[in-house]
């Protein structure tokens, strides 16, 4: 490992941050990843409530019972408790999919009951492929799809930020897939927005090519992102990969979130994305929640990754 922190990649930075478990706020400004904390300017800003602050939680896999995590209910409840004890009330909480492991009605019911324990005005969800195992997402939508469009997508505005929640877990050929109808939705959805509107895109499967051999990408995401090219701030948040990762492409920054259930291997580490069993006592280090905040006037969102603890 280089001694010069300037030589770190973003990925290393994230690992670094996760390793220390420190409260590192990092933001991307003008192409530079800047970890800013407790410095003078940051401290000044810290006194003001951010324009928007929310939490992301993902991949809870209610119903999973394997050795990597014999009690996914407990770890999901732990994550919910941690969000409820952040010291502030998040403006909303987004669950980025794989609420359930096998899309059963019992699992959906339990996931909904648990999410209803979040202390926040709004809980939003997008489906994972585990939430649409055998019915193209019908059971998911019957529980979580009220007032959504198409196969469950929607958008909303909050505190001057435009949030688009997409469904890319249906009609899979190899990668995630949005489909023509949803692409048209995105195009129309942003058509009337000023280019300085901050955009947040939520999906389960990454919208960037994180590791296509394992299906960790979305085959028609480029088309969707082309409609967002004119915006100065575009942030994509996803789950699915059960690990932290970030990547920047042009004006878009992608952030994969971790899971509340069990880790998956790093890309290409082994033959398949099989759940990983960690040594006793280490599971919590791989699980977590994410805090996201936006302050008006800044291009980048600030993310903070919190381990379950």
């Amino acid at each position: 490992m280089s001694q010069d922190p300037r030589a770190m990649s973003r990925r290393q930075l994230i690992r670094h941050a996760a390793w220390f478990g420190a409260a590192v706020g990092f933001s991307v400004v003008g192409g530079e990843v800047i970890s800013h904390v407790a410095g003078t300017a940051a401290a000044e800003r810290a006194h003001a409530r951010p324009t928007l602050r929310f939490a992301q939680v993902s991949d809870s896999h209610i119903g999973f019972t394997g050795a990597p995590n014999p009690d996914v209910t407990a770890t999901f409840r732990h994550a919910i408790d941690q969000i409820n004890n952040l010291g502030y009330t998040p403006d909303f909480v987004i669950h980025t999919g794989d609420l359930t492991h096998l899309s059963s009605p019992d699992q959906f019911d339990q996931a909904k009951q648990m999410l209803s324990g979040l202390r926040t005005p709004h809980v939003f969800t997008v489906p994972g492929e585990h939430d649409s195992v055998d019915d193209a997402g019908q059971k998911y939508r019957s529980v979580f799809g009220a007032a959504t469009q198409g196969d469950g997508w929607y958008s909303f505005d909050i505190a001057g930020v435009h949030v688009i929640a997409l469904v890319n877990t249906l009609n899979l050929k190899k990668l995630g897939h949005l489909g023509v109808e949803q692409l048209e939705f995105v195009e129309k959805d942003v058509a009337g927005l000023s280019s300085d509107t901050p955009i947040i895109v939520i999906s389960h499967i990454p919208l960037f090519a994180m590791y296509p051999d394992w299906g960790w990408g979305t085959d028609d995401a480029t088309q969707a992102l082309s409609y967002l090219r004119r915006f100065s701030s575009v942030t994509c948040l996803n789950g699915h990969v059960h690990q932290l990762f970030s990547q920047m492409e042009g004006n878009v920054t992608f952030y994969s979130g971790t899971t509340t259930a069990y880790p998956l291997p790093h890309p290409g580490d082994g033959p398949a994305p099989k759940p990983v069993t960690l040594p006793a006592g280490k599971l919590g280090d791989a699980l977590g929640i994410r805090e996201v905040s936006y302050t008006k006037g800044q291009t980048a969102l600030a993310l903070k990754e919190d381990k379950l603890q």
Binding site: I62, Q110, A146, F156
Partner: protein, 152 residues
Amino acid sequence: MFRHHRVYIVLLAVSVLLLAGCSASRPNAQPSVTFGSNASGTPGMPGMSGMPSMTGAPPGAATGSSAAVAGDQVGIDNFAFAPATLTVKAGSTVTWTNHDEEPHTVAATDGSFHSPGMGTGATFSHTFPAAGKFDYVCSIHPMMHGTVVVTQ
């Protein structure tokens, strides 16, 4: 294209703790949410407003279909169907068994059969009455391919 950028670590510390600590001194009104004009209502669900966390029901048992019967078997191990190509006689019943901790499905490309989500140890059986070549995938992990060749 992924471009490398230099990374500056200014400081590692605890701004967010400061943030949390200081936020109480400010009014804490939550911003309102506005949904798109095409929305017919409110997506999402309300969170709770101050009650303690509730206890969820235990998870439902993973659904397993009937136990494997005598017939031709396909195992699912490490995100692969084995054998990837199985040849059987018309009228045979093929049974798939998932040995992975991940759930899988068996979904014919032509739509002629589609299993439910198969948890660990679950099986799915399908009878092939007539000759033909049937390609299938796991609809959750569509990089997993298999074929059943049915002969007379």
